[in-house]
Structures are given as C-alpha cells and as structure tokens.
C-alpha cells in the first residue's frame, strides 16, 4: 500500500527525522568541502575518454562493414552513448559539477546525446521526479503513464499489454524520456495548455530532428563515402547502438524505484514536508543494487 504518512510508517519521531536531515547535510557538506583538483580532473578525463570512444566507434563502423568490425563499432558506440547519458550528462545536468564554474560542464549549458531536450529533462527529472519522488499521481516516472508497476495503481485491461509496452519502451527509451514533458496523454485528453504544449512540442521536434538526422542520415551518408562501409550498415549500427543504450538505461532506471521494498506514496504524504521528511521519503522510495567499479561507472553511479 502506498504510504500516506511517512513518519508514522517508519515509527520515527520528529526529532529522529530532524537528526537524519542534520546528519545527511553534514555528509553533503563534507563532500562539498573535499571537492578539488582531483574531481575536476576526473570529469574532464571521463568526458575526453567518452568522446574518444565515440570517435573510435564511428571510425570502426566507417572502416568496414564486416561482421566483426560492425559489432565492435556498434557496441563501442553504444557504450559511449551510455556513458555520455548516465555518468556524464545526467550528473552534469543535476548540477553535480556546477561547483567548477566551468561553462562547458554545467547544468545550464549541457545538451545530451539523446532524443530529448536537456531543458525538458531538467523539468521532468530534476524537478518533478526528485521533488515528488514516487508520489502516485505526481511522479510520472512511476510507470511513465504506460505501465502498471505498483499494486497501488488500479488495474485496467490496458495493463494486459504491460510486457509488450515495456519491451517497446525499453527499446525506444530515449524517445519515451524525451516525450515525457510534451505530455501527449494530456494533449489527447484536451487538458493541456495549448501554447505551452506547442512550445514544448517544437523544442522536442528540434532536438529529435537533429539527433535523427545525425545518427540515421548524416553519419551513414558520410561513412558511405568510405569504400569499406555502406549507408545501410552504418544506419543499422546506429539504430542498434541507440537500442543498446536505451535498454541498458531503462534497466538501470527501473531498478531504482520499482522493486518491491521501494515504497510509493500518496499526495497527502508530502503536504507540509520538512527537509528531513523529504530525505526519508527519498530513502524509502529508492532501491539499490550491488555493484563493483565497472557497474558503478556504467550505471552513472546510480548505485552505492
């Protein structure tokens, strides 16, 4: 059952919760104080390595359309997109690296390599998802308006297609995420602000158009100039690379808030929420997975 009163659910007193906020803020302060040259070097190198990996992948695809080169290039490209989206893009847009005051690695300037616009992501994810985490009816990430992922949502015959919908969503996850802020459901029901919807749809179309042109027209065209590669081989490779990234990020994200044990909440719960109660709701509503350094990196540090 979704939680309506977090403090009651956890049997914690107001003082306990306030202490929690105090302790977590102290940890945050420690980490903020420790940031320095080492960290700046880490993100610069990660970005350089990711871009080099992408170039390598695309060159492999241009060098040959033979099976082995094709797979090598496709997987390399897929991995580079995963790193760009998860370890770099998602974290940069969260403001994690804003402390460096670097205009090229900043939440306000980063545009990431996927179909959705960074501006829309900052609304749906940074704001809506992180402020209203797992609150039914507010956090759209709970099922993406498509899937039934918790008993708290009433069952409808539509949900019979859950597995099918998720398969499609997983393969085209970048488009599911990119369209989130366009709020197609609301538009079809006529419950949207038309001007806003038009503006958002335009923003999405511009970004999506650039991405589609890059991966499915421009690169295949450029590599077709290479004697060893063809338009179709690169096109297929780019499609698969994007799918690799989509499926991987979908899997990691679904592990974050849907497993049993990651609680859901009702709208009443967050009324008058204190900082400590917000922290508590984040902890109760999230799931972790065991990880080594590689998984940690490839999941964008979405585990601990």
């Amino acid at each position: 059952m979704a939680i309506t009163d977090v403090p009651a659910f956890t049997h914690l007193t107001d003082a306990d919760i306030e202490n929690l906020a105090y302790e977590l803020d102290a940890i945050r302060q420690d980490i903020e104080d420790s940031r320095g040259e080492r960290d700046a070097r880490y993100i610069r190198r990660t970005i350089a390595a990711q871009r080099a990996l992408e170039v390598a992948g695309r060159l492999m695809l241009a060098a040959s359309s033979r099976r082995s080169a094709w797979w090598a290039g496709t997987v390399t490209l897929g991995v580079s997109k995963i790193i760009e989206n998860m370890e770099i893009g998602h974290n940069v847009m969260h403001g994690q690296w804003d402390w460096m005051n670097d205009p090229e690695i900043h939440s306000s300037t980063w545009e990431w390599d996927m179909g959705g616009a960074s501006k829309h992501w900052r609304f749906t994810h940074n704001f809506m998802h992180h402020k209203y985490t797992n609150i039914l009816g507010m956090d759209d990430d709970v099922g993406y308006g498509l899937l039934r992922v918790t008993r708290d949502t009433k069952w409808k015959p539509f949900n019979l297609g859950n597995l099918l919908y998720n398969t499609i969503l997983a393969m085209g996850f970048e488009w599911g995420v990119g369209l989130q802020h366009v709020e197609l459901g609301k538009i079809f029901k006529g419950r949207d602000n038309r001007d806003e919807s038009k503006a958002r749809a335009r923003e999405f179309a511009v970004k999506a158009g650039h991405q589609v042109f890059k991966d499915y027209v421009a690169y295949p065209a450029v590599t077709s100039l290479s004697p060893r590669a063809t338009f179709m081989s690169t096109l297929k490779a780019n499609v698969v690379a994007n799918i690799i990234r989509n499926v991987w990020s979908n899997a990691v994200i679904f592990c974050g808030h849907f497993p049993d044990g990651a609680e859901k909440f009702t709208k009443t719960d967050m009324v008058g929420e204190t900082k400590g109660e917000w922290y508590l709701r984040q902890m109760l509503g999230s799931a972790n997975f065991e990880n080594g350094p590689v998984l940690r990196f490839m999941s964008g540090n979405l585990c601990h």
């Binding site: 080492r38 871009r51 005051n101 900043h106 501006k119 609304f123 402020k131």
Partner: protein
C-alpha cells in the same frame, strides 16, 4: 501520463546554446562549423577538436600561457596565446577577463591588456608568432588570492579562459595632440598598451607621464619607459617615489605641469588618486577631459549584510536583506525568474552573477562574480548584479 490535481508550475531556464566566439568575423569557418555540426550535434566540432589541442575551440575563449616574465619583485607579465575566436583588434587601454582553474574551480578576474592591438594595416616589426599573443601584467596584492597565484604559481603551458576585451578607457586613433598620463602603481598597465600602440603608430607628439610608485624598483616596465623616453622626445616621464617624496598632490598640479588643463588626460591608479583627480578636474571645469579607469576590488560584504540586487536584463533593482532569496527579490519587482523546485535541488533557476557577491543560504558559502548561482537558495551579500 500522471494526473496532477496539485497544479505544478515551473519556469525552467532554456539550455544556454553554445555561442561561438568570433563567428561574425569568420563567416566561412562558421559555415563549415555548422555543416560539421550536423554530425557532432549536440556538441560542436570544437568540442572534439579541443581534445587534441585546447586552443582549437571557439566555443569559449581561452588561451595558453606561453611565458611568465618577472617585472618587479611582486609583479609579472603573462604572455598568453589566445585560441580560436579571439579578435586582436581591441583598443589600447581595454581590459580582459582571465579565468584560472584553481583547485578545480574556475575563478575570474579582470586585468588591463598591456599589449598592443593588431589591426590589418599595422603589422608589428617583431615575428609573426609574437603578434598573435596578448600580455597582461599582474601585481600580486597581499590579500589578493588570484593575483598572487598568477604572479607566482602559473606555469607556462597552463590553459586559461578569457573574456573578450572590453572597456571604454581607450586611446582613440588618431591620438590627441597633447596628452597627460596620470598613473600610480599597477595603474600603469592600461597606459602601457596605449604607449606601445602610440609608439608603433608614430603618434607620440606631446605626452607627459606622471607615474607614482612606492620606490624606484617598484616601477613596472622601468627599462622600457626609459628607452621610450630616449627614443621619443615627445614623451616625457616623471617618476615619483611616494615612500620618500610623498604622494603627488593633485591640487598643486600647476607646480608640476602648468599646461595640464589643455591636455587630454588618462588616469589610472589607487582610489584616492582617482578621486582627487576627479575633484581637481571638475573644479577646473574640464571634467570631460579626464578619463578614469578604476580597478575595483570586489569584496563580499560582512556576513549577514544584504544589499541592492540589480537585474541586468530589465534594469530593475531592489534593496534586500541577507535572508531574502534572490528569486523572491526578482519576483517582487515583477521579473519572471526561472524556477523549478524552489528548494535548491533541480538547477532550474541558475543564472549568472555579473557583479558583486551572493551567499548560499544553506551553507553560507560566498559566490564571486563570474560564477553561476541558484537564485532560490542565494541571498545578496552586498550589492550585486544578476544576468536575468
């Protein structure tokens, strides 16, 4: 999609698009960049090229420190080779923003360019390589964090960020017939650019330069100025060692230089000297002949002090206390401030801090001009100007 009965509104700021420096001046290269951008999107080709050579990017101005030359015991000249996008036809006397990465953070300060601009017609006699550099001369201020670092700690090869040259403390072309330079300490730096440019353009007709420094050895560019005096009889330099001879009394300028009222004057130096100059010139009714350059030292106000926050794009301003978030201040004067969660976690409200300091209401940390701040959890710390 989610049914929201709680009406959620936000005004998320647009993602700032990369602005290519010098795009207008180089339309051909820019067209090529746009075409190549089709396959590098959402990045620019520059973002890949800079991995090979940091200067190969016009997305943000940057340069490489090629040489650090000691001038006096506490000052040094940095010779910087700018990267793509930098235009060398600035005006003598203008200043440039320098960003240095210290401990992972980019910190910004402004310094006068001491080098001469390079324009199409006049090519300097020195090597072509030298002409594609700029110089700044930095004096280490005892309480100055970045200046001490620049003078003592920057190794050649360091990459610095640059802000395009600006400022209206400039020497026009052609120069006026008779000129007075009134400088003190590091205030000589913009005037060096002017002197070097005038020497190159052969426009030194009648210049008197009154320069004050604590002692003779504190005079920057001493040898070069002596050589200039020797080579041009139109240039007369009078140095004053304030530690032994006391400060120049501008009220008694007639004793020093009887014809000062006829000269177009450029003054740059300590606050006190400039204030005195302003008084003396306006008292003589020739205020428009005096050009001043103030090296403002930006210091945060004492803890717990608010100030006047100015919103640069609309020109509106408001006086606030130290507990009022800047977002509220902006909304009070009717500005559509970008916002999201309004609790400091979503980065929707980030704007640039152009001048002054702000304080993070959660941690107490100060943010200095040139950084970007979250308005929902920042308050003014003294007067400040926001880019919104």
């Amino acid at each position: 999609m989610a049914k929201n009965t709680i009406k959620v509104s936000a005004n998320v700021a647009d993602t700032v698009r990369p602005k290519v420096a010098g795009a207008k001046e180089r339309p051909g290269w820019n067209a090529l960049r746009a075409i190549a951008g089709r396959i590098t999107t959402p990045l620019l080709p520059d973002d890949y090229l800079k991995l090979a050579n940091p200067l190969w990017s016009a997305r943000e101005l940057r340069g490489r420190v090629v040489e650090v030359r000691r001038e006096t015991v506490d000052s040094a000249t940095l010779v910087i080779k700018p990267g793509w996008g930098f235009t060398f036809d600035y005006q003598p006397g203008q200043y440039i923003g320098i960003g240095l990465q210290v401990d992972g953070r980019w910190r910004w300060r402004s310094y006068s360019l001491t080098s001469s601009p390079v324009t199409g017609a006049a090519r300097p006699a020195t090597s072509a390589r030298a002409s594609r550099t700029i110089t700044i001369t930095v004096k280490a201020m005892p309480e100055g964090f970045l200046s001490t670092h620049l003078v003592g700690g920057v190794a050649p090869g360091t990459i610095v960020r640059l802000a395009a040259p600006q400022g209206n403390f400039v020497m026009p072309d052609p120069a006026p017939a008779s000129v007075l330079f009134l400088t003190g300490g590091s205030g000589i730096t913009p005037v060096m650019s002017m002197l070097r440019t005038l020497a190159r353009r052969d426009q030194i007709t009648d210049i008197v330069h009154l320069h004050s420094a604590p002692t003779e050895s504190d005079v920057m560019f001493g040898a070069e100025l002596a050589e200039l005096e020797r080579a041009h009889e139109g240039y007369r330099l009078r140095k004053r060692a304030t530690r032994t001879d006391g400060r120049l009394d501008l009220a008694r300028l007639d004793d020093e230089l009887p014809d000062w009222r006829e000269r177009e004057t450029w003054a740059c130096g300590p606050e006190g000297m400039l204030n005195a100059a302003e008084r003396v010139w306006s008292a003589a009714g020739i205020g428009e002949r005096l050009h001043l350059e103030r090296f403002a030292v930006s210091k945060a106000a004492a803890h717990g002090q608010g100030g006047t926050v100015e919103f640069a794009r609309s020109g509106k301003s408001l006086t606030v206390d130290a507990a009022t978030p800047l977002m509220e201040a902006g909304e009070q004067v009717g500005i559509r401030m970008p916002f999201g969660c309004r609790m400091g976690i979503c980065q929707s409200c980030v704007v640039g801090l152009l001048e002054g300091h702000v304080r993070d209401l959660r941690t107490g940390a100060e943010k200095e001009p040139g950084s970007r701040v979250q308005t929902c959890i920042s308050a003014a710390s003294g007067d400040c100007v926001l880019d919104v």
